[in-house]
């Protein structure tokens, strides 16, 4: 099964994940983005694709500043 086909649920609350505004911090910069998260406990889901793609790019940009 490919990662895209997976239907992840929160392991703690058994809730389907919903898009939620998530706030991030890095090196003194704060920014937000909509990401899947548990509607009950707020646990945020970050896929490998996102972590190693857009997030890694963003990290590099912020490190260079």
């Amino acid at each position: 099964m490919s990662d895209k086909e997976r239907r992840w649920k929160c392991g703690k609350c058994s809730q389907e994940l919903v898009q939620q505004k998530v706030v991030f911090n890095y090196l003194g910069h704060t920014f937000s983005h909509d990401l899947p998260a548990c509607p009950d406990c707020g646990q945020v889901f970050i896929s490998k694709e996102l972590a190693e793609g857009r997030i890694a790019e963003l990290e590099e940009e912020l490190e260079d500043k």
């Binding site: 392991g11 706030v23 890095y26």
Partner: protein, 749 residues
């Protein structure tokens, strides 16, 4: 930080400064760029440069005595110096338009008198007239030219003077001899250039050869009257015009920085390694070069400019900044005020191997690595360092200086004369390296042991505090052992001790081993190249020791063309700049077709990953036979603990029990591909075990109920790790993937 603190590192760098020939040239013509333009037949641009520098290019290209040629570095190759004047003459001949430019600047009200219409006075007069000053030239003879009037080519020279003065307004008063300076009282400045033996109005004894001033305010003096040559006279006229201009604006005669030339620099030569000898281009006609010949001759110019470090170092090549630019940016980065301004050097600062190679090949010992190290320290002290770039190695250092550390005198003793300091990675790479070496040293020299870290991770991270704490621990251990001499297996450890703990005696393990005739190392290859680590630079004993051991093994040793280059590991750049790290490692692996003998485990690891055959010299000495498969990050930690456990047992008869974690019992099944990826990303199995344990204990994870696949994350101070896994048995998990990010999800308030 002050700007001077950073620029002091590169003060001696002369990249971009005039070449030796230009320092010798009376006009300080930038011969290098003139020749580059001439070689391409860009006569118009070359002529413009020549005109600006010499004022009378035709006269100079015929009469210059060419002191530049005595400083032409082509002669170092055994060739004749570039025919600089002949190329200049060709430029004057082949340029299409020699008409002087007229400058659209407002006229000035100040009046300047020039006494003497020889070329020295004329060059000054012309330059001031170009700036729209009111210039009057007094000449006792009936025409201009001074000593040139007697030259058989004077007609041509007079044409040149006519041409160059055609775009300016100057009041020439011929047949007017000035007998007293009082006649010139109405002028704002006066330049006396009356030629050899000419009238000096009694001011020669007060003449300042640097500023051309005299004791009389506003009276300047120069040219052949002061003993200058014809060319020097023209050049002086140009300089004097600038000094007079400054004097009229400020009331003070002074040299601006661009007018200061230290002639001593005309002896600053480069080694021109790899440059090819090329004979002088002979002119086919007595009239001088054809256009093509002039271009060919100009192309012989070596364009002498020092760029050795920027050519040799992959990092400097990639970032395309000169050492001096880097110094300014090191300072500028300390002055930023985000988000209004941002830093420009961060990535480069953390991409340097700090291997010292630039310094070793620099004719002036400029050390860009130390400069970037200063930048790293500054960032760390200011709390603006990107911590993730060095986090992995700092955690490894913390392990090596806590759970992994062990200091002991030899069995049954409290102190020792020697103590073996293997460094944190030797035992991690292969426990036998440390265990067999120690067994040998203990038996032979009653040697103690110190398992610790030299502090390289802190040093390279710019973490002064961590560094100092570690040095303190080492110093204390050394004192407790009775101040023994340290025996080093790692060149980095030894070089850091030399720098930070000079009070401690040092000896290289390889020097000791090489002196022992009973040691006969095995011969893994008939021929090999010794790859000296960067930090062994200057450590002759260590380098020599390894070569002797190779010789004893019967290996024919090839010397690498470039020695002591960093394998890529230095400075811990791997996270900051993975592609640069990869490029450097690739280049070092390709430096010889022969297999390598190495004596740094980090070099060995880098080459192993590049599938370059490399054997650690200890494998030859103690037949430790390290396999080609590198230990994983977790195995390295386990190896370090095994070394400590075995040494403690053999020295003290004590049992060492490593710290126990609740997750230690978990069994992870990791396929080769995933393991390889984890190693590349510096994710250890221990971290994944902890993450899985946390997820399984708290339920804080994601789950795909269709097949029981789980995804969990673990937040460490700097990095958040993620692991996708599935339970396949009791406390047994198959790892499907592992990744990380550095940004932090903000916890809800």
């Amino acid at each position: 930080m002050k700007l001077e603190e950073a620029t002091a590192y590169t003060a001696k760098c002369f990249h971009g400064e005039p070449a030796s020939c230009s320092y010798a040239c009376p006009f300080h013509l930038d011969i290098r760029s003139f020749m580059a333009r001439a070689a391409e037949g860009k006569w118009s641009r070359a002529y413009k440069q020549l005109r600006e520098a010499t004022v009378f290019p035709l006269i100079v290209s015929i009469l210059c005595d060419q002191p530049c040629r005595t400083r032409c570095q082509r002669t170092l190759l055994g060739d004749e110096a570039i025919a600089i004047r002949d190329v200049e003459a060709a430029c004057v001949r082949y340029v299409k338009n020699r008409k002087p430019q007229s400058y659209a600047i407002p006229p000035k009200k100040e009046r300047i008198a020039v006494v003497g219409a020889g070329v020295a006075g004329l060059s000054c007069a012309l330059n001031l007239a170009q700036k729209k000053f009111n210039v009057t030239v007094f000449e006792k003879e009936g025409t201009w030219g001074g000593v040139l009037r007697n030259h058989d080519r004077f007609a041509g020279f007079a044409e040149e003077l006519e041409l160059q003065f055609s775009a300016v307004k100057v009041d020439f008063r011929y047949n007017t001899e000035i007998t007293s300076l009082e006649e010139l009282a109405e002028y704002d400045a006066v330049y006396i250039a009356t030629g050899e033996g000419g009238e000096s109005f009694g001011l020669l004894d007060s003449w300042n050869p640097e500023l051309f001033t005299t004791r009389e305010n506003k009276i300047f003096l120069g040219g052949m009257l002061t003993g200058a040559t014809l060319m020097e006279g023209i050049a002086q006229g140009i300089v004097v015009s600038k000094i007079i201009e400054g004097y009229l604006q400020t009331g003070k005669a002074a040299l601006s920085p661009d007018m200061r030339y230290d002639k001593n620099y005309c002896g600053r030569y480069l080694d021109h390694e790899g440059a090819v000898s090329k004979p002088l281009v002979a002119a086919s006609s007595p009239d001088g070069y054809t256009e093509e010949e002039a271009k060919q001759e100009a192309a012989r110019c070596l364009l002498c400019d020092c760029d050795k470090c920027m050519v040799a170092c992959e990092m400097l090549k990639r970032f395309k900044k000169t050492p001096k630019m880097i110094a300014v940016e090191v300072f500028a980065d300390t002055q930023v005020n985000p988000p209004f301004s941002t830093r420009s050097l961060t990535r480069q600062a953390y991409s340097c191997n700090i291997c010292g190679y630039c310094k070793s090949i620099c004719p002036e010992n400029v050390d860009v690595g130390s400069l970037l190290q200063l930048s790293r320290r500054g960032r760390m002290n200011d709390g603006v360092h990107p911590a993730a770039l060095h986090d992995f190695w700092l955690r490894e250092m913390d392990f090596a200086t806590s759970e992994g550390s062990y200091t002991a005198a030899p069995r049954g003793k409290d102190s020792c004369e020697y103590v073996f300091f293997p460094g944190c990675q030797l035992g991690a790479s292969n426990p036998e390296y440390v265990l067999k070496t120690y067994a040998y040293l203990e038996q032979k020299y009653a040697c103690g042991v110190m398992l610790a870290c030299c502090g390289a991770p802190a040093y390279w991270a710019g973490d002064d505090k961590r560094m100092e704490d570690n040095l303190q621990r080492i110093r204390q251990g050394w004192e407790e052992l009775g101040k023994p001499v340290f025996v080093f297996a790692c060149a980095t450890c030894e070089s850091l001790f030399a720098q930070f703990l000079p009070e401690i005696g040092r000896i290289s393990l390889y020097e000791i081993l090489a002196k022992d005739d009973s040691i006969v190392p095995t011969q893994p290859f008939a021929e090999a190249a010794v790859f000296d680590p960067c930090n062994a630079r200057g450590d002759e004993e260590m380098q020599e020791g390894v070569r002797k051991l190779a010789e004893k093994a019967g290996i024919t040793v090839e010397e690498l063309k470039e020695k002591n280059r960093c394998c890529g590991h230095g400075g811990h750049i791997r996270v900051a700049n993975p592609s640069l790290y990869d490029e450097i490692a690739h280049n070092r692996a390709a430096a010889s077709e022969k297999p390598y003998i190495v004596y740094c485990v980090n070099c060995r690891e880098v080459f192993s990953l590049k599938e370059k055959k490399a054997v650690h010299v200890l494998d030859m000495v103690f037949d430790t036979g390290s396999s080609d498969r590198l230990p994983t990050l977790q195995e390295k930690r386990d190896n370090s603990l095994e070394v400590k456990k075995k040494l403690m047992a053999s020295i003290e008869g004590a049992e060492f029990t490593p710290e126990k974690h609740a997750w230690d019992d978990l069994v992870l099944l990791i396929d080769d591909e995933t393991q390889k990826e984890m190693e590349r990303k510096l994710i250890s199995a221990g971290d994944l075990k902890e993450a899985i344990w946390l997820a399984e204990t708290t339920g804080q994870k994601f789950i795909d109920e269709s097949d029981g696949m789980c995804l969990a994350s673990m937040v460490k101070p700097v990095i958040t790790y993620w692991v996708q896994y599935r339970e396949v048995g009791p406390k047994t998990y198959q790892v499907h993937s592992a990744y990380y990010h550095r940004i932090r999800i903000k916890e809800e308030e």
